[in-house]
């Protein structure tokens, strides 16, 4: 057992280091579920209201975005709460796992801190084991809080169902802790390790998306489908827990095996020598910023293209469904003012615009990590103006995010146009994507302004994104007041395709984004550079 020596000390150390971070994650996840559970009865007071909502589960878009649904004949509050949000809570739990695991394993190696720890009496697997234990503990706390608090908050929410809800979320979260433990062994860089785990998370989302729309058996191969398969508040099933334990066990053993064969601080792939000279494109600030973000840009574009293609392949399901359900289709079209297909495509473009922020925000914030890691100082000591340096990162973020969204939308547009045999659909989808670009730019502008004016509060840009996400995905479900919608930049985008393209709102959003960026550049010029 010498390989595990020191684990308990490391666990206490990690809990001490993250005494704010972990409680915030837990409070965020539990808090969102509780708020949601408390709000739903007010929004859907009668059984008829709930049943109307349940009928929406027949649509492919609901299956695509939320899962297969269950218990639709008796759509109680409990079923409603679990079926509508479990997928997204599971994603949040998985992200928490990925960030925390990589932070305590590969990041520690990358910065060289682990070297000092490993030189003391600490076993080979102690760091990984400690990080994994801490994350599992955090998930168990979430599960326990949900099991205890949900019955207090919601009407007719039983303890058993609440427990199944909590355990379901924990299963998905813990599986991705195992995934991150493996990816942390593969790359030398924490950033790459988290990206790889995030790609697997996105893959899990897609597998269950296709499964839930078309071949249901496929969904069982995605850990993200498991929480809903536990069917909390209906006929609770515990098979997903068994699957989760087995898969996690395999992942942890795999991570240990990889850990055994590699050196501290090394990846599985050895670094090779590179060129002795920088190319011209690398020797200017924009080229340099682009070079740093190139991998991320390629990764996100590829991911969004796969996503758009997957979404696009479900378009046929939508038109089939509309043909089979003329009554409901008519009702929906009267309500939305656009065809079912148009509203579906519009929603997908918005979803991709939200996902594009996953490239845009970190790209803009790269300036912050360059400052924190002491790289900015070396460059700003040269004849490079601060505004040009920061502007380069923001410009890459602006152009790159447009590229990511347009490439994903093009994939969606091509498949949708082929499926519907309507070339105009492609142009409509690209038009919708263009209209969303300024909304993403506002988030980049906000990142720039925070970096310049309030670098310590930079997390606010993520909160703004989370807000836009919740409003975009759950806004209808929660029946939010219109002022809450209007706080999200994504809600000022004209409803395309189908709606009217309003030049004014697009121009205004762009101007706001530019104003934020200019304010960020100016305020950065007036503050001290942080020392390492």
């Amino acid at each position: 057992m010498n390989e595990f020596k020191g684990t308990s000390t490391l666990i206490r150390f990690m809990l001490r280091r993250d005494r704010v971070r972990i409680p915030l994650w837990i409070a965020g996840i539990v808090g969102f579920v509780l708020l949601f559970a408390a709000a739903v009865p007010g929004i859907y007071p009668t059984e008829a209201d709930r049943q109307a909502r349940a009928d929406l589960w027949d649509t492919p878009i609901a299956n695509l975005m939320r899962g297969p649904g269950y218990g639709l004949d008796d759509y109680t509050f409990g079923v409603m709460i679990a079926a509508e949000i479990m997928l997204y809570i599971a994603i949040a739990a998985a992200l928490m796992s990925i960030f925390l695991i990589v932070r305590h394993t590969r990041r520690e190696e990358e910065t060289g801190r682990l070297e000092l720890i490993r030189s003391s009496v600490v076993g080979k697997y102690a760091q990984s084991t400690a990080a994994f234990t801490v994350v599992v503990l955090a998930h168990l706390v979430i599960a326990a809080l949900l099991a205890l608090l949900l019955p207090l908050v919601g009407e007719d929410l039983a303890f058993g169902g609440s427990l199944a809800f909590g355990i379901g979320i924990a299963v998905a979260g813990i599986v991705f802790a195992g995934v991150a433990l493996v990816t942390a062994q593969l790359s030398e860089f924490g950033r790459t390790a988290s990206s790889m785990a995030a790609v697997i998370l996105a893959g899990a989302f897609l597998i269950r998306a296709v499964g839930d729309v078309q071949w249901h058996i496929l969904s069982w191969f995605s850990p993200l489908a498991w929480p809903q398969e536990m069917r909390p508040f209906f006929d609770e099933r515990w098979l997903p827990v068994l699957l989760g334990v087995v898969l996690t066990g395999l992942l942890v053993l795999g991570a240990f095996a990889l850990n055994r064969v590699r050196d501290v601080a090394a990846g599985v792939v050895r670094p090779r020598p590179g060129p002795a000279n920088a190319s011209d494109s690398l020797s200017n600030p924009f080229g340099f910023a682009f070079r740093q973000l190139r991998g991320s840009l390629i990764g996100w574009s590829a991911g969004v293209i796969v996503l758009g293609a997957t979404f696009g392949s479900t378009v046929g399901e939508i038109s089939d469904w509309a043909a089979e359900n003329p009554g409901l289709t008519e009702l929906l079209e009267a309500f939305e003012g656009v065809t079912v297909l148009e509203s579906f495509l519009g929603f997908l473009v918005m979803a991709m615009a939200l996902i594009t922020a996953g490239f845009a925000i970190p790209a803009a914030l790269r300036a912050r990590s360059e400052e924190n890691e002491g790289h900015a100082e070396s460059l700003l000591a040269t004849a490079l103006a601060r505004s040009r340096w920061l502007g380069s990162y923001l410009l890459v973020a602006l152009l790159g995010s447009a590229f990511v969204l347009l490439s994903g939308s093009a994939a969606l547009g091509v498949l949708a146009a082929i499926d519907q045999n309507d070339g105009g659909l492609f142009l409509q989808i690209m038009g919708a994507a263009l209209a969303y670009i300024p909304a993403i730019w506002i988030l980049i502008g906000l990142a720039g302004l925070l970096f310049g004016a309030l670098p310590r509060a930079i997390v606010v840009v993520w909160i703004a994104f989370l807000y836009a996400f919740v409003v975009g995905i759950f806004g209808d479900l929660l029946n939010l007041p219109s002022w809450m919608f209007s706080l999200s930049p994504y809600e000022h985008v004209p409803d395309l395709p189908g709606g009217e393209f309003t030049v004014l709102s697009v121009v205004l959003l762009t101007l706001v984004a530019l104003a934020l960026i200019v304010a960020g550049l100016i305020s950065f010029g007036n503050r001290d550079l942080q020392s390492v």
């Binding site: 590179g274 002795a276 000279n277 920088a278 690398l282 790289h375 070396s378 503050r527 001290d528 020392s531």
Partner: protein
């Protein structure tokens, strides 16, 4: 015409971080071609002074100028004429050393590739490796080569030899002398006293954010206590009321003492006895250090 030779000026520069005063009304100037050593214990404000000089942080009060340009308001003009070697150079992990050199060189405004090659050879540096695989000393070489190959008028160096092996430290001394003979002005913060003693024309000593001394090593030595040892026959000399004399120790026919300032009163007092031998020793830089650093407890 003295104005035209001025390279760098700190004019009453104060920097506060919240309550703590990192730099307390610093005033000093550097003239063209001078090599100045910046000394002081950890936390004395050396790095803060250099970061102000680079325009990375803003002086709370006062102004720093380089070639007449305000370091905070006109950093680009300033940086076109200087090159900086940080005490710890954080390289980008996925770029090679050669790529980092070219990037910094291009951003400084250009360099001669032949000079780059010369320094790579002299420092025995491998430019093909990825950033994260370099040792601390090799990372420091990147910063040194990048700063030297630009041939900037002013070199600002913050503990540049940290992590270098003794042979390379020696090479660095040679490089410094060459730079000086080319007329480059150098501001060098260092803990390596021999480096400062050999290379620097003037020395500035910071302590708790204040400039406590600024002058040639010669000046500093005169200001500081010298050790006098003498042998005598008969009655011992009386130093009771002699100004500047301290730490007198008598030991059968031999006396050792410290004297500060003019030696005239001491000589006159000694003349009353029969002095058979006398030896005056200048303080070493280490002793100077002790006298400037050691009196009060230093906060980190």
């Amino acid at each position: 015409m003295a104005e035209n030779n001025e390279v760098l000026r700190f004019d009453n520069v104060t920097k506060r971080f919240g309550e703590t005063i990192a730099l307390d009304s610093l005033s000093m100037t550097l003239e063209r071609g001078e090599v100045v050593g910046l000394l002081g214990p950890n936390g004395a404000g050396k790095t803060t002074a250099l970061r102000i000089l680079l325009g990375l942080i803003k002086p709370t009060e006062g102004q720093a100028t380089v070639y007449g340009f305000d370091t905070w308001l006109q950093p680009v003009q300033v940086h076109q004429r200087l090159a900086y070697v940080p005490s710890e150079f954080n390289v980008w992990p996925n770029l090679t050393g050669g790529q980092i050199l070219d990037l910094l060189g291009a951003l400084y405004g250009g360099y001669d590739p032949d000079i780059r090659e010369q320094y790579i050879e002299r420092f025995n540096f491998d430019p093909n490796k990825k950033g994260r695989t370099y040792s601390k000393g090799n990372r420091q070489k990147i910063a040194l080569i990048a700063a030297l190959m630009t041939r900037a008028d002013l070199l600002v160096m913050d503990e540049p030899t940290a992590g270098l092996d003794p042979l390379l430290e020696q090479e660095f001394q040679t490089v410094l002398r060459e730079a000086k003979s080319r007329g480059q002005t150098i501001l060098l913060s260092s803990h390596v006293l021999s480096e400062v003693e050999v290379a620097c024309d003037r020395v500035a000593i910071l302590r708790n954010g204040r400039l406590v001394e600024y002058g040639t090593l010669q000046d500093l030595r005169h200001l500081s206590a010298r050790t006098v040892e003498a042998t005598y026959r008969g009655d011992p000399p009386d130093f009771a009321d002699v100004t500047g004399v301290e730490d007198v120790v008598f030991e059968n026919g031999h006396v050792r003492l410290q004297v500060t300032g003019s030696t005239d009163p001491l000589i006159k007092a000694m003349a009353k006895s029969e002095i058979t031998g006398i030896q005056v020793r200048e303080p070493t830089l280490e002793e100077l250090f002790h006298s400037y650093y050691g009196e009060e407890p230093v906060d980190g």
